[in-house]
């Protein structure tokens, strides 16, 4: 039986995917400022951030309305719970993009500096973000698991970039300010990957009803026979 509620849930999915698409565009534009040294993209990032923030507010409203009016259960409830969390993650991704863009604008005014593994980090982080959103759209658990696995690579690249930039700053004190900025950009990208990982975890919960976060704590809870409200 097709329900009006299904249309509301489809609308919610659509809103999240549109917001996710804007976040992807923001990251790509912010990275262009850094890599191509083109400040013009800052205006796009700023405009998209306003749109992302509007989505953030509207999606929260939609979720609360759906909970209040429909008292969802089972898969519907898990979708809305996941949507609330993904909404927050995407808004934070937008913030990371703004940080990268603003730092990039500073770097544009300075002499060029080595970016370490930042270009590769951009590939990994944007790929993870795109695939996490695809896994949400399709309810694809395998793709979500793949996103989670890729987070280790992003962490490794960030550490390499940190080390490389620290050595550079030790050798050349005039590069300290720029080097710190590149490290900040690497950290922003690593956080984008973390948010993509969170989204992928939410997708697995949404599809399977299985919470895979914090496995050690989950195991301890199950061993203790913990049951939240039963």
């Amino acid at each position: 039986m097709k329900r009006h509620f299904d249309e509301d849930l489809d609308d919610l999915r659509g809103r999240l995917l549109r917001m996710g698409g804007l976040c992807e565009e923001m990251i790509h534009a912010a990275v262009k400022i850094v890599v191509e040294r083109d400040e013009e993209h800052l205006n796009d990032v700023a405009e998209w951030e306003r749109q992302v923030n509007r989505h953030h507010l509207e999606i929260d409203d939609v979720c609360l309305k759906l909970i209040a009016l429909h008292q969802p259960a089972a898969g519907d409830l898990r979708l809305i719970a996941a949507a609330l969390k993904i909404n927050s993650d995407l808004e934070r991704v937008g913030d990371q993009a703004v940080n990268i863009a603003e730092t990039g604008v500073f770097l544009c005014k300075e002499p060029k500096i080595k970016l370490g593994d930042v270009p590769r980090m951009v590939e990994v982080a944007t790929g993870m973000l795109k695939d996490s959103l695809d896994s949400f759209a399709r309810g694809d658990v395998e793709l979500a698991r793949d996103v989670i696995r890729r987070d280790d690579e992003e962490d490794r690249l960030k550490s390499q970039t940190f080390n490389e930039l620290v050595h550079l700053m030790q050798r050349d004190s005039s590069a300290i300010a720029r080097g710190m900025d590149v490290i900040l950009i690497a950290r922003n990208l690593e956080r984008v990957a973390d948010h993509a990982t969170n989204i992928a975890e939410d997708v697995i919960f949404m599809v399977l009803g299985k919470d895979i976060r914090h496995p050690a704590e989950q195991e301890a809870r199950e061993a203790g026979g913990a049951s939240a409200t039963a």
């Binding site: 329900r3 509620f5 939240a228």
Partner: protein
């Protein structure tokens, strides 16, 4: 129809050792003992097809078990089998095992059984000719209790347990049917509690009540499950989710899924359960 016994009171027998649960849940080690065990229950009405087609479930002590399902799925028939009310209908039959504290329910005198397994119905049904006090005392009196002080004490205790005492303490002599619908239903609960049952069966007890009266009954359920076991049939799935620890989903006479309420309402195993609780059919 009321279930008040008409024989002298007898001491409630001690409950036997719990039966093993058929499917222990994830928090099995914290589960309470089984107080009533149903196995392969079949029931129906004369020459027609079976209404219940082999239902098995365990009811755990001092918990609320909710039975949900679409109209005609057999949920009311199931609880009416638990205190042998179903068999009272002409042509009705009930086969299988229902064990209460180690005894086969189908072999217990129905009148004695209903002292241990009380029932509250969909519509409040206070005895129309009796006062508030007499309604609650009726079960005790029919059981042969004549000590007026003891009866008065039990009436007050039962009305307090039903969260009705404060509202009726000054009008105990007034007709029971003069109370509001919600009060009448709590009066019926007090009447059922007065004979101190082990299990209270409730067949859609809030379906005729407004949201405030419903909320009172739900609060009451949370209170009384500290002392006795409740099995409630409800069409209101949010009510099942709010008040029960265990939920059974029935469909066309079969028990489709039975488990902890949180599991049933967040991650049901059977697609039919998911479709029902999300309103995709029913």
């Amino acid at each position: 129809m009321d279930t008040n016994p008409v024989v002298p009171p007898t001491p409630a027998p001690a409950l036997a050792a719990p039966l093993p649960a058929p499917k222990p849940g994830p928090s099995a080690q914290k589960e309470k003992p089984v107080v009533m065990s149903v196995r392969g229950l079949r029931a129906g009405y004369g020459g027609g097809a079976s209404v219940l087609k082999g239902v098995s479930l365990d009811v755990r002590e001092r918990t609320v078990t909710a039975i949900i399902g679409p109209s005609g799925c057999g949920k009311s028939t199931l609880i009416r089998c638990l205190n042998r009310l179903h068999e009272a209908l002409p042509g009705a039959y009930c086969e299988g095992d229902i064990h209460l504290g180690g005894r086969n329910v189908l072999e217990i005198d129905p009148v004695l059984l209903r002292r241990e397994v009380g029932m509250v119905f969909q519509r409040p049904n206070p005895f129309p000719t009796m006062s508030v006090f007499e309604n609650v005392a009726s079960g005790l009196v029919l059981n042969g209790e004549s000590d007026r002080a003891k009866i008065a004490e039990r009436v007050e205790t039962s009305l307090r347990r039903a969260a009705l005492w404060d509202e009726v303490k000054d009008k105990l002599a007034a007709p029971g049917v003069g109370l509001s619908g919600g009060q009448q239903q709590r009066l019926c609960i007090a009447r059922a509690l007065a004979v101190e049952p082990h299990i209270l069966l409730m067949d859609e007890p809030c379906s005729a009540l407004d949201p405030i009266a419903t909320a009172r009954i739900e609060e009451l359920l949370v209170e009384i499950k500290e002392q006795l076991t409740v099995v409630i049939v409800t069409h209101n799935m949010q009510q099942a989710a709010r008040v029960s620890e265990y939920t059974a989903f029935m469909l066309m006479g079969e028990l489709v899924e039975f488990g902890e309420t949180q599991q049933i309402f967040t991650k049901p195993v059977d697609k039919r359960t998911e479709d029902y609780i999300t309103g995709r059919f029913g």
